[in-house]
Symmetry: C2
Amino acid sequence: MANIIVETAETPSIDNLDGKIRLILAGEQLFAKNGINGASMREIATKAGQGNHAAVQYHFGSREGLVRAIFDYRMDQMETARGAMLDNAQTHGRLKDARTILEIILLPQLDLQDADGNHSYASFLSQYLLQSRSPEFGDFSGSEPPNLTRALHLMRERIDYLPPFVAQRRLISVSLMFLNILMRHHGTDESAFGETFSEALEDTMEQIVEGMCMPLRLASAPSENL
Amino acid sequence: MANIIVETAETPSIDNLDGKIRLILAGEQLFAKNGINGASMREIATKAGQGNHAAVQYHFGSREGLVRAIFDYRMDQMETARGAMLDNAQTHGRLKDARTILEIILLPQLDLQDADGNHSYASFLSQYLLQSRSPEFGDFSGSEPPNLTRALHLMRERIDYLPPFVAQRRLISVSLMFLNILMRHHGTDESAFGETFSEALEDTMEQIVEGMCMPLRLASAPSENL
DNA sequence: ATCATCCTAAAACAAGTGTCATAAATTATC
DNA sequence: GATAATTTATGACACTTGTTTTAGGATGAT
C-alpha cells in the first residue's frame, strides 16, 4: 500500500530481541501511525522481522490481545519507574507537593516515548484511549497499577477542595494535555514550535499544576496548595 | 461483525436527506467509533441507507476524499456560527474579552456535537487530528476559514505577552481539552462524572481561560488580561 | 541421546476489501 | 414530453484480510 520506501534496518535497535516483544514494539509503532484498525496482522509480523504472518494469533490470540499486551507492557515499565519516584519523594518529604506528584504521574511517560527508538508511545496511547472508550478514565480493565493508583490518590488529596468529579475531569484533561505534548516529541530536542522540548515541558508542567490546582471559583484560591 | 442488533431507523433524522450528506454523516459516525481506518466503504454506504456500495467512490473518489468532506462540512457550519458570534461581539464591544473570544472559538463545536442526532463530531475530529498529523495545528490544507482565523488572531493578541510558540501550544492544548469534554457529551445533560454538562462546561471554560492567559512565569501575571 | 515444549514457517481458505464497469432509475433542462 | 445529466443499483474483478492447519526447527530437560 504505497509507502514502499526501502526502509532497510527499519528500527535497528529492536533486532535481537524476544520475538514477542518485537511484535509488541512493531504493533505499537504501526497502531500509532495508522490507528488501531489501520494495520494488519501481517504488516505487524513483517515489521517485527517475522516471516510467520500468523505470529500475532499465536502469541496474543487476536488483534485485541496484542493491543492489550502493548498497553500492559508500557504500564509495567511505568509502574517500576513510579515506584522509584514515590520512594524518592517519600525520603525527601515531597509527597504533599503537587508538582512532585504530577511529575510522578506524568514524567515516566517521557522516557517511554524516547525508549526503543520507537517514539510512538504517546501516539499509540492516544489511539488506544480514543478507541477503548473506557467508561471511566483510570479503569485499567486488568491488573490495577498500585503505584499509579497511589499517585493519583495523593494528587486527589492535594486538590480535595474541588468536587470529586471536577478533580477527576481535570486529571483527565491534564493527562491528555501532557500526552499531546509528548506526541510532538520525537527524542531530538527540536520542537515543532521553535522552542526546545525542555522549555515546552517546563511551561507545560507549570501550566498543568496551575490548571489542576485552580479552584473552581477564582475568588477563593487557597494559594498555599500551589 | 458482531453488533447485528436490529437498529432499525438507525438515526431517523438523517432520512430524507441528500445522499451525499447522508454519506458524510454516516462516515462521521463510523469513523468516530472505529477510527478512520476502522470502517469500510460498504459499511458507510449501508449506514447511509444506500444499496450502492460504491457510493463513496462516486461522490468523493476515495476514503480520504470522504474524510476531507466530513471535515469541511463541519468547518463550514462552524464558519457561519462564528461569523454571527463575531458580529455580535463587535456590536457589544466584547472583541477584546478573552472569555468571549474563546467562546467563539470553542462553543460552536458544542452545537455540532448535538446536531444531526449524530453525537460523534468530537470523536471524529479527534480521530482525524490524530491521523492527519498536521505539521502545524491550524493548517487547514484547503480553504482557510476566515472567521476562525480572525478569532484565533484576536486570541493571540490577547495573550501577546507570551512567546508565540507558547501561545500556539496553549491554544492547541485548550482546543483539545475542550474537544475531550465534548466527546463525553452526548446531548442529554447527564455526564459521566455525575455533574450536569453545563456545570462541567462552566468549570472547563473557566479553567481554560485561566490556563490560556496564565503568563509563562507565575510571578509576573498581568491580571488585567484575565 | 530422546523426548517434549516452544517457536517459526508456510500453505490454504472463506470472507471482506477497494475499485471499475455497466445498467437502471431518478432528476433536471430545454 | 423528449433528452441529457446526475444519481443509484448491481455485478464482477483482483487483492487483502483474519484465522486455521500442518509441517519444520530450535531449545531445554531428563
